[in-house]
Symmetry: C2
Amino acid sequence: MSSSDGAHAPGRVAGPAFVLINPQMGENIGAAMRVMANFGLDDLRVFAPRDGWPNERAEAMSAGSPLYASARVTDDLEQALEGCTVLYATTARPRGMVKPVMTAREAMSEARGLIEAGQRPGFLFGAEKSGLPNELVARSRAILTLPVNPQFASLNLSMAVGVLAHEWRAGDPAPEEFKPLEEPADAVQLVRMYEHFEDELERAGFFFPPEKKPLMTQNLRNIFARAGLTEQEVRTFRGAIKALTIGRGKARIARD
Amino acid sequence: MSSSDGAHAPGRVAGPAFVLINPQMGENIGAAMRVMANFGLDDLRVFAPRDGWPNERAEAMSAGSPLYASARVTDDLEQALEGCTVLYATTARPRGMVKPVMTAREAMSEARGLIEAGQRPGFLFGAEKSGLPNELVARSRAILTLPVNPQFASLNLSMAVGVLAHEWRAGDPAPEEFKPLEEPADAVQLVRMYEHFEDELERAGFFFPPEKKPLMTQNLRNIFARAGLTEQEVRTFRGAIKALTIGRGKARIARD
């Protein structure tokens, strides 16, 4: 299997295996390959796809995912499951089997712990129409079911894969490059801005009746305190106040 | 909007609104409608879909989702956002804007709290190629970004909707109807089974050398303790032991 796609950043453990059992639609196989790569998973096995392999529709929907080439596609079930030490059966139907029932979040959290302990969990996904055969549910440690609306429960196969793939990473913090570079304003910069704003409002006759000024001031300061301004935003807003007061002066001159 | 699809079980709060901005592919709109209904969400707004409306591909991919009929499809942006009190901008690219950056899990958790406080959060999804316009990111309370692999970051639009829709329900416990009805075996039933098994193993000469019997017994009991047997399973396993010992007797008679 390829590990050249950057999914394995240093210190990041390799994810679980996903195993599609008898998938029917090439589109779903391809979409599964795409979304697994999106969330940094690279161990896909495809057991006995209905339309054979290679599959043009799968390739198109995989959108260049490295998993189109690296997935293990096989008609041998034991080869598809090779190396998996713990299986999870995703299923939409109760099976009446005595087995723990987990949500995606619970199962992926358990799987992460197992991986850290040196195990290799595999998540099994059944065919679009029929789901997993009972034989494979019986071999699984737990049943994994998604919290779907019982009145509209039929989840697309690649969506189920996508939801599980996201769960693998869902606890990661938001990436650093999204964090803004600007410095947050400190309390002194903020109070100077508040006072500038309030002085101009005072001059404009905004605080009326005067005994309400403390409450009105407090309400205005609340807005900015919640917003969490940067130094640049403080400068911008003070510029806006200045422009309004000068503009007001101009307008008054024009009207007078 | 329709609320006849059972998404609103008694006591369940209505979910957030999802707003697709200029979606290009009817397939993605339909897949979004399907997966929102899967996870019990019913407030979808579609602003200015590229190929107009109605859209046959969207209808086919919606797979009978009630959202195909109930979604608000409009070319008026303010109508698409109507009623939303807090916006979240889903985006794959850093925008250099000063704004909280959240994961899907963090944002949906915050949105749940806002809904309980009477607010109506809206999640904005941009077009497949171009994403959200900066104008809408600027109007949002926070940027929401998914933990994708930077080397393969392009997530299908309907997948992004699906991952967020699942987050709405991801904390729900596994449904009751999946829980097995069988009674778990109690400690006495289990120890009788253990003793039955060990007596037959003793007779068969399994515990050799004899001083290892305590450790071997402990290892065997460990297996069953981990598995968590039901009363029925205890009966089945004791039946299996009986069959093996009788079978062994028979085999021995036949060989002798």
